[in-house]
Symmetry: C2
Subunit: 642 residues, 2 copies
Amino acid sequence: MSETKSKGKGLNRRELLGGTAKLVTLAGVAGASGAAGLAGGAFLQPSAGLAATPNKTHVAPGELDEYYVFFSSGQTGEVRVVGCPSMRELMRIPVFNRCSATGWGLTNESRKILTENMLPETKAFLQSRGGVWLNGDLHHPHISFTDGTYDGRYLFVNDKANTRVARIRLDVMKCDKVIELPNQNTVHGLRLQKYPRTGYVFCNGEFEVPVPNDGQILDEPEKYTAIFTAIDGDTMRIAWQVRVDGNLDNVDADYQGKYCFSTCYNSEKGMTLADMSSSEQDWIVIFNLKRIEEAVAKGDFEEINGVPVIDGRKGSPYTRYVPIPNSPHGINTAPDGIHVVVNGKLSPTVTVFDVRRLDDLFDDKIEPREIVVAEPELGLGPLHTAFDGRGNAYTTLFIDSQICKWSIEKAIRAFNGENVDPIIQKLDVHYQPGHNHTSMGQTKEADGRWLLSLNKFSKDRFLNVGPLKPENDQLIDISGDEMKIVHDGPSFAEPHDAIIVHRSKVNPVSIWDRNDPMWEDARRQAEADGVDLDWGADVIRDGNKVRVYMHSVAPTFSLDKFTVKQGDEVTIYVTNMDDVEDLTHGFTLVNYGIAMEVAPQATASVTFIADRPGVHWYYCQWFCHAMHMEMRGRMLVEPRSV
Amino acid sequence: MSETKSKGKGLNRRELLGGTAKLVTLAGVAGASGAAGLAGGAFLQPSAGLAATPNKTHVAPGELDEYYVFFSSGQTGEVRVVGCPSMRELMRIPVFNRCSATGWGLTNESRKILTENMLPETKAFLQSRGGVWLNGDLHHPHISFTDGTYDGRYLFVNDKANTRVARIRLDVMKCDKVIELPNQNTVHGLRLQKYPRTGYVFCNGEFEVPVPNDGQILDEPEKYTAIFTAIDGDTMRIAWQVRVDGNLDNVDADYQGKYCFSTCYNSEKGMTLADMSSSEQDWIVIFNLKRIEEAVAKGDFEEINGVPVIDGRKGSPYTRYVPIPNSPHGINTAPDGIHVVVNGKLSPTVTVFDVRRLDDLFDDKIEPREIVVAEPELGLGPLHTAFDGRGNAYTTLFIDSQICKWSIEKAIRAFNGENVDPIIQKLDVHYQPGHNHTSMGQTKEADGRWLLSLNKFSKDRFLNVGPLKPENDQLIDISGDEMKIVHDGPSFAEPHDAIIVHRSKVNPVSIWDRNDPMWEDARRQAEADGVDLDWGADVIRDGNKVRVYMHSVAPTFSLDKFTVKQGDEVTIYVTNMDDVEDLTHGFTLVNYGIAMEVAPQATASVTFIADRPGVHWYYCQWFCHAMHMEMRGRMLVEPRSV
């Protein structure tokens, strides 16, 4: 899975063209901060020299975008893959949602992924509700790192609605693991260990709840707790949890692999709006990874629901609490590997601290606020900050509806008493920005070319589509001295967060490997049934269980009919034996609520009770051939009475 | 609902600007065929004169698109609203899918719509499956007509997967009716009565099935039948059905309100691919609306599952069967109101017939093939034809991966023996086009500006996103003499079909009317409970049923907590009392699988069993305010043991 190689099969038109469509090596893209330049990946480029020219805002028909944008979709529950700068949606990856097209949430393969790391209590709860969640609130997508930059292996995302974290394999752009986090209610902020590699997936439990949350403890806030979780990204098991004070919000990590840090917007531990925002200061919590690992090793934890939970509340050796004004929201590590910006939300300031001072902080050589090196006042509602690798920071001002570009160095000088204004430019955006992102800006290879402002309101910026409006993701050219808006991008509920990744970092396959672990269970069952899964055209009866094996080669399924009895538990395996790029088939069973995607060389399966007698057609729903309409067959369900 | 008026509340920035952003009257857009011009609607236009200038392919930030495109999404099950020419997705309207963001399929309001016209047999089938379908295959979106052009009231769509038709209210861009069609298996082609108004929604039952389909009849093809259905679009009840010979595919209607016509690709009544394509000729079926209405009036039908089913098989007075080579697929009425193009699919020809000859055909004065006035050979795999209102037709050639532009008049002259080539231009598209569409081209007001080619494969046209690729919707400028591709648009599975509608035709509201029928049940229940639904902050216990009424005003819910007992049936009503454009709230109940959209001035509700004890936070998932993160409250579920 970690080897993302193009398979040699099925050369496409672009590869055959040669010439301008050749593989070229990326050069001259990395920003000033990315000392190493972008790690030597090769990428497809329609015309030589694109990367070296000034920002191009139009992507002509047939040209490729230069960047992938991985978008969260908020409450839609999916991941969206978008091309930049065209801002076209290239793909949706279902994760926490139920997908009608691909059968995500219905196929045996997806249900295994969705349920295998579910807590027993949740399994019981969902038993009468179809067995899987049908919604999610996907907030923060981040790609795995090696040595401070993206390595293209995995994308990790969180679900605030039902307290889960999922992993997406970037070789096939499908989710392969989902884990439910115990002991916490919601998971909000999610970021990754950047060095030496991911490694840890850091997750903030946002809402405080009683532990155990069994309904015995209700109105006693002092018995509520918030939890911080580190997942092992390789195994997708929980490494450890830390009990903290206050509501956690967003999180980030350093470039040294020693610390991570979370904002806390509710140090008051309030349960109502008024209580939550009563103090003028809240804090960040800094986690010392080495000390926590040692605590786990030596057993200084309480095991709750099978997970080691370390006490990291105020006064513990594992954490430090640094006061920050006021209800801080976003936290962003600069690509210089030194500075971290904490965004004040209810304070007009951002607070900059220096990670080089954290050792001393944990060794109690300095006071918490001594890590702070700047605290510029930028405007109303600072939420998130992005970086261009040239020493500039770009902060979203939610209430002002602006992006503020400012100089980190000047902010530090001003904090040290010099009379200098760190603010370089303020740009109106439309309207009310939340997260923002620069191209490669969350790595040490920030290249300072594009900025994306994810605005929460679009109001009048698009044709009216009724009471529910899209959000507005604005693309801003930051390659010159001035920020310039070049594109308004409407977005269904809700973009929330994104990363802009150079295309050299991601290298998916076009055709599945027949040995892929995704359908391991199908492979094993076929073997037990003595069936060739690849070329199956078999119906195996096993008591009242019937297993139907078929393959597809456009425009036919290998079975044009099969018969089962009413009440049988039927499993249908479909293998797509077409070995041609983009030749996806589908399998839809009419009036049975069944539909699934079967991409080239993949196997997909579904199990259901055949409790509706009659003739039921199945058909291919992915247009595949001139005779696509004729690609169908019949399931005959004999009634019980026969 | 039929009055689509802008509400006076909440003037937006664009309306306040005046000057270039004023309401201007549309002029000079209608094509040659649209004698009346576009009906006098007024529309918002960012700079005067846009409509009169040549096609503009770039829509700058803040500018509005000139057209709405209503896209089907195929197996994704939703409707997509896209702006043209920018081709940005402006909104998704969930219809046959389960939507994580809006709660479509979960809220009481949506479940009522999804189930109220469900057949009892399907209700029983779904009882153990959550009560509603979670997938659909939405193929053909069409807007209601008055006098041959769009009237902006409704959009109608079909579900091939689970045999349904749905209606979307264009004032609020939400689905308000879904009906399941009895006696048939799948519904494929869907088009509307164009004159005097819609009126009828015509639906092809594609797959033949035994009637009744109870599993007693299996391998006796002669007992299978295909059904054509007309729905009354105002009541969303079935008006009548017609039993026909052969598998129906696509359908269209005339501009006179007298006839509609369906293609049949399987006149062989084959059950396998080989059988379905064995003959060189298939047919279209023409339906005589007046005769059918008379038959219904006089009782010449069989009532099956509560629906009058007329026998329209070969030889009946209600239909005519006209031979067409070979497995014809799309059927498209030209904006001249005279010519209809039938696309040959397995034949390289399209067949043009003249609707003025249909009276004589039904009066047996002419032979079926005498309605044909042209049959040009265009290329391989003709699937669908669009029109520019200047006498030209644009046919997709699936196998050739081309659009063929041709002259209807020249094709007729060639058919009459003149040595003239009707083909004007062939344009490569990328790759394998299915449906295509011209701006306003499915009305008498075809304006000849844009053509959209919905291509089934994108292969190498976009950054690689893994084995599943997007489709590719290409936008083509047809305003000049030559077709020019100006945009490649990736599209998630699968665009399938679309209409391009001038923005003057659609005029949604931005804020719900508090008297909207959508939440009639909530209104009635609140009244019975003595609760003010608008400003509710009440918990009503009624045995083990608990009704929780709350309203939202950013950033608070009117209840910051409420208590229920384990096992209670809880209904939560949320009313969004913010009266501000774009200020949508959400309601998500953590670890309960509950999330719903509540747009400005709307009420939404959900009912569930509170069988999971503990403290469960609910929060607003539509970013609404600087203090959005704090917009939350707690549901306390007391355990049974307390």
